[in-house]
Symmetry: C2
């Protein structure tokens, strides 16, 4: 890779400007007031930009003992949700001079890779989704400042948590469907052991318990269109009265359910009302557009990063769950 000359160091800049390396560091680090004269500072800046100087981050990190880099651990990037979480986190990070490295926990259950080794970066802290199951133990073992996303506030052993108010979302969904007159519910649940999905199930069950004359059945599927299609198909083929409302743990499951419903010769929402959760782009791509719970994934990422910054500075992170809101579209209607 013989790139002619190697990268210039602060010493090269110093030489070009006729000052010491320390002076360069002071000027470029913006700590020169009262230590270096204005004309000298000018010369240093000119020399730096002339040579195209970029500080060596490895050296700086070593010297300072911190890296201004954090790790974001997510379950996967197969849906845009965590991509948006990343975007939000990265935006806030950049505003504070931080970088974000991503660790999408691998889907296949291979030999559990080490998120830290694979990030290959020196880290100041970690933001981790509680859904990234296989990475969590390694993360817990490490001593880095940690913020958990969508995690049981009780079970987080002191780590800061940032949560979406999923329970309230399910409440809104349930009330919407009850108000439309639905009484027979089917819950298409994600086949993943994670707190955020437990919340959905618990909230839905308790809301319906409180509503007289309702019934609830639950089926499970992996979060994929194919998986949801199969699970829903099986449920629709089952004997007994057909439910009139299908509450899905997320939009992708709802999209799969749509297909099963069509294949069964039924229609949304006439024969079956369907709701999702996430409000991905997918929600408005399918027909009819999906009634779903809007989660602000970017705000979620921003909040996560802000919480981590707070932890790093010894401040208490913001309290309270992030609000969510029901978006009523064409997939829900009164039962026939």
């Amino acid at each position: 890779m013989a790139r002619g000359s190697t990268r210039p160091t602060s010493r090269d800049v110093a030489q070009a400007a006729g000052v010491s390396q320390a002076a360069v560091s002071l000027v470029l680090g913006d700590k020169w007031r009262g230590r270096v004269s204005e004309p000298t500072a000018q010369r240093v800046r000119a020399a730096a930009s002339e040579l195209g100087y970029r500080p060596n981050l490895a050296a700086r990190n070593l010297r300072l003992g911190r890296t201004r880099t954090v790790l974001l651990v997510v379950p996967a990037l197969t849906t845009e949700f965590f991509a948006e979480v990343y975007t939000g986190a990265a935006r806030v990070a950049a505003q504070h001079g931080f970088g974000v490295v991503l660790y999408p926990s691998p889907e296949g259950v291979g030999p559990a890779r080490d998120p830290f080794a694979s990030a290959q970066a020196a880290l100041d802290g970690v933001i981790a989704s509680s859904m990234a199951a296989d990475a969590l133990t390694a993360i817990r073992g490490d001593q880095l400042p940690l913020v958990m996303l969508d995690s049981d506030p009780e079970g987080s052993l002191g780590a800061a948590t940032v949560n979406l108010d999923i329970a309230d979302g399910i409440r809104q969904v349930t009330e919407h469907l009850l108000a439309l007159g639905h009484r027979s519910f089917l819950h298409l649940a994600a086949d993943i052991p994670s707190w955020t999905f437990e919340v959905r199930a618990r909230e839905l069950a308790s809301r319906l318990d409180a509503a007289p004359g309702t019934q609830l059945r639950t089926i499970r599927a992996p979060i994929s269109i194919e998986g949801a299609l199969r699970a829903t198909e099986a449920a629709l083929a089952a004997p007994g009265p057909r439910p009139t409302a299908l509450v899905c743990d997320d939009d992708k499951l709802a999209a799969g359910a749509y297909k099963a419903i069509r294949r069964a010769g039924l229609r949304v929402p006439d024969d079956l009302s369907v709701t999702g959760l996430d409000d991905l782009g997918l929600a408005t791509a399918i027909d009819p557009e999906l009634t779903t719970v809007r989660l602000d994934a970017e705000a979620f990422g921003e909040r996560g990063m802000r919480a981590l910054l707070a932890v790093l500075e010894g401040r208490p992170p913001e309290e309270g769950d992030l609000p969510v809101s029901l978006v009523v579209r064409g997939s829900t209607a009164p039962p026939r």
Copy 2:
């Protein structure tokens, strides 16, 4: 953040094992054969795992002058395409002890942020999509080894390029539609100046030029469901004979077109055949399932990373474009 004791260094491990720091480095760096006895190596390893030692990457990077970290510059993560590119690149990277940092070029045309500063990491190389327009000039200015994705091989000034064979994909689409009997085409093009979209337009035009009795009209839209919806709606409302085949630059555009077509009271594929490009999850979520060109985004990312590794090692990167394949589903049929 007073974490009781600070992280152990190699010197701590050395002390615990009763050897010198150099011995620790040799053992843990797997360079100890013939230099350190087996029992001593054992002691070192035991001490290291006892203390939970993790090498300080900043120090290692500084010492070695490389970081085993590369930057992946992508236009955005709003579709799963580049998320998969990342996944593929990160997988190959991990196999070689590399990490991948992501830089999604910001959508809003703000003050062009510096991808290198915002990555906040010392880098060994860069993989950049030619679609990440606003980051490209900064990247070109830097002297890092570079691999371009989806970029004009002629105009890349010596940087290695890795491309999908998009032209062949368009060829397959065109031949498929021509074989079905279509003669009147509408091209829903992405409203982004990028080589990969130019290729689509050029190939489509030249294929149809070669087919007697065909005609082609082109409309442009930003890559979003909303944008495609509006552009297609306008085109369908235009006077004159309606085209029978709609070739879209990607799946998302096709999803938007579906909605416009439905709103116009028409049906896919009876009134209008539609094709996409990407084969995102979206393609099978919509109804009817979309006939599209399958791009293997993960393989694309893998190939990009392998090319960068080759460049870093002074080897020539693999030649040849990545193959793509038409997936015929329910959105294409003979014209009425």
